[in-house]
């Protein structure tokens, strides 16, 4: 097949649409199904941007990748306190399935695919004026990079997130419904998993952000206000359960529909899930490999397009993460300069 044939095959006839009819159909559906639009929160825009960024960073640092879309990795842990990090490749198929299975895009809605997630002490990020204030409120000394690339300029903004706790309760009904949403059938939930609970704690955490000043529009595309550098530091998260074992959870969750064989194999290959933080890495979009940082083994994750790099490591009971638009050596240099 040559280029012309490809173009011909992909270039189907331009569809003729009737937008008025389509809009009427949309409005009828909105009314029939009771679909409501989002309502913007009435708060200052600058504050929203900053807190939103801080909350996103908190999602990374406090609950790390343990509570991302998958809802799988963290659930294999009975008593979890990470001492090292490993990459777990997530394929597009995994993301597609999980994206469909979730009822929404946030953490709570996504974990709702498998049960009930409730923040007992929700993370409440707030801005402080200095690193010393951040350290005082977090209860530990917040480290900061002493060497920065020339692309990172200005003073950072400081955020502190309180120690947060959450409870997750497994539900066979939720799991069945989420599988049904994507026309799959979930395997029966073992009786000892149904209703069992995971208790998750994270933080406190300190986040330092460079390059996202009020009104910043430096980034391109649909996602403006992206900082140039984010440095996160948090007490390592912990997960405990009310009795279910790691192996029981791992076997059941990896048998869920939509979990690719590659993801299942990667999760199974984690030798000691009680002390290893699995970091989901989109297999088609990013590269990752172990690196030595601050004298310990950490993980480098880089976006294939060169947009973002991250270095994640654990040392002395603390999780650290450096994220920004850098190459690997720059990201490692920043990470190693943390004092």
């Amino acid at each position: 097949m040559n280029d012309t044939q490809i173009e011909r095959a992909l270039g189907t006839d331009e569809p003729r649409v009737n937008t008025d009819n389509a809009l009427a159909r949309f409005q009828a559906r909105v009314q029939t199904e009771g679909i409501a639009p989002v309502v913007p929160i009435a708060r200052p825009r600058v504050t929203s941007r900053w807190l939103q960024g801080l909350a996103a960073a908190a999602g990374v640092v406090i609950v790390a990748s343990a509570l991302t879309l998958s809802g799988v990795a963290e659930s294999v842990l009975k008593i979890f306190e990470p001492k090292t990090v490993v990459a777990v490749p997530i394929t597009q198929g995994d993301l597609t399935y999980l994206g469909q299975a979730c009822t929404g895009v946030n953490l709570q809605e996504c974990l709702g695919a498998y049960g009930t997630f409730v923040w007992t002490t929700p993370p409440q990020p707030k801005e402080v004026n200095s690193r010393s204030q951040a350290s005082a409120q977090a209860g530990f000394t917040a480290l900061a990079p002493t060497s920065l690339p020339s692309s990172v300029t200005g003073d950072p903004r400081y955020g502190v997130i309180n120690r947060s706790t959450a409870t997750f309760t497994f539900s066979a009904d939720s799991t069945r419904q989420s599988a049904a949403r994507v026309n799959r059938t979930a395997p029966p939930m073992p009786a000892n998993i149904e209703g069992s609970k995971l208790f998750i704690t994270g933080g406190p955490a300190v986040v330092q952000i460079w390059g996202a000043p009020a009104g910043a529009t430096g980034a391109t595309g649909a996602y403006p206000d992206v900082p140039t550098l984010v440095v996160g530091q948090a007490k390592a998260p912990t997960v405990s359960s009310d009795g279910i074992t790691v192996d029981e959870l791992r076997s059941y969750l990896l048998s869920q529909p939509g979990i690719s064989p590659q993801l299942a194999a990667a999760i199974r290959a984690i030798g000691d899930p009680s002390s290893t933080l699995p970091v989901p890495v989109p297999a088609e979009l990013a590269v990752s490999h172990p690196v030595t940082v601050q004298g310990v083994q950490g993980l480098y994750v880089g976006d294939n397009t060169g947009i973002a790099s991250a270095v994640i490591w654990q040392k002395d009971g603390m999780m650290f993460e450096v994220i920004g638009s850098f190459n690997e050596s720059q990201a490692l240099s920043i990470a190693n300069s943390m004092r």
Binding site: M1, D3, Q5, I6, E7, R8, A9, L10, G11, T12, D13, P15, V17, T19, A22, L23, F26, Q27, R29, V30, Q31, G34, I35, A36, P37, V38, V39, P40, I41, R43, S48, Q52, A56, V60, A64, S65, T68, L69, Q92, L95, T96, G104, V105, N183, T220, G221, A222, Y223, P224, D225, P280, P282, E284, L285, A286, D303, T305, G306, I307, I323
Partner: protein, 186 residues
């Protein structure tokens, strides 16, 4: 983590408090967005699915998702819709079973660019379309989305905004996607 957040709204929003409240009409801002982007969203889905009715179903779902989760006047609205159209159509494509795929392909009217006075070539074109859709379904998501957006007529800048990549990288990424496409066809 970064990637998991890609569907989230950059602005701070909450679901409406009263799920029982039914709006009588969409806001003027949403209607304007719908009118300006509907044809384009259908066009993107149509490139993937080669079935207009199915493409319009996908477009409806895409607009519902946006309506539920994003402010109508968000600057990123068109880019979000374009990306969502490609991804949703690819999901739909992968969800077809073999039989329905064949039926859909056969139901597609002959391509205007094909030699319609040559029945043999028309059959070849139909088979080619089916093969192309199968290949699209197998490609990595971003590659397939990139091809769908490009062949739907989006500019490099629009593709960059939709897929959140640098505009200067689109040419390279597009070539890689086309190479992957050809490899899959072999």
């Amino acid at each position: 983590m970064l990637y998991g957040c890609m569907q989230a709204s950059p602005s701070m929003t909450l679901p409406a408090r009263d799920p029982g409240h039914v709006v009588s009409a969409v806001s003027p801002a949403f209607e304007a967005l719908f009118r300006s982007e509907y044809a384009r969203v259908v066009g993107i889905a149509h490139r993937v699915l080669a079935d207009q009715a199915e493409a319009e179903d996908v477009a409806q779902d895409v607009f519902v998702s946006f309506y539920r989760g994003h402010p109508a006047d968000a600057a990123y609205g068109p880019a979000w819709l374009h990306a969502a159209a490609a991804h949703a159509a690819l999901n739909a494509l992968r969800g077809r079973d073999r039989r329905s795929r064949r039926e859909a392909a056969l139901a597609v009217p002959p391509d205007a660019t094909a030699a319609q006075d040559d029945p043999a070539e028309t059959v070849v074109a139909s088979e080619t379309r089916e093969e192309v859709r199968a290949v699209l379904a197998r490609l990595p998501e971003r590659s397939a989305a990139m091809l769908a957006l490009r062949y739907a007529g989006l500019s490099y800048a629009e593709i960059a905004a939709a897929l959140d990549v640098r505009a200067s990288s689109v040419g390279t990424l597009l070539r890689r996607a086309e190479d992957a496409f050809r490899r899959e066809l072999r």
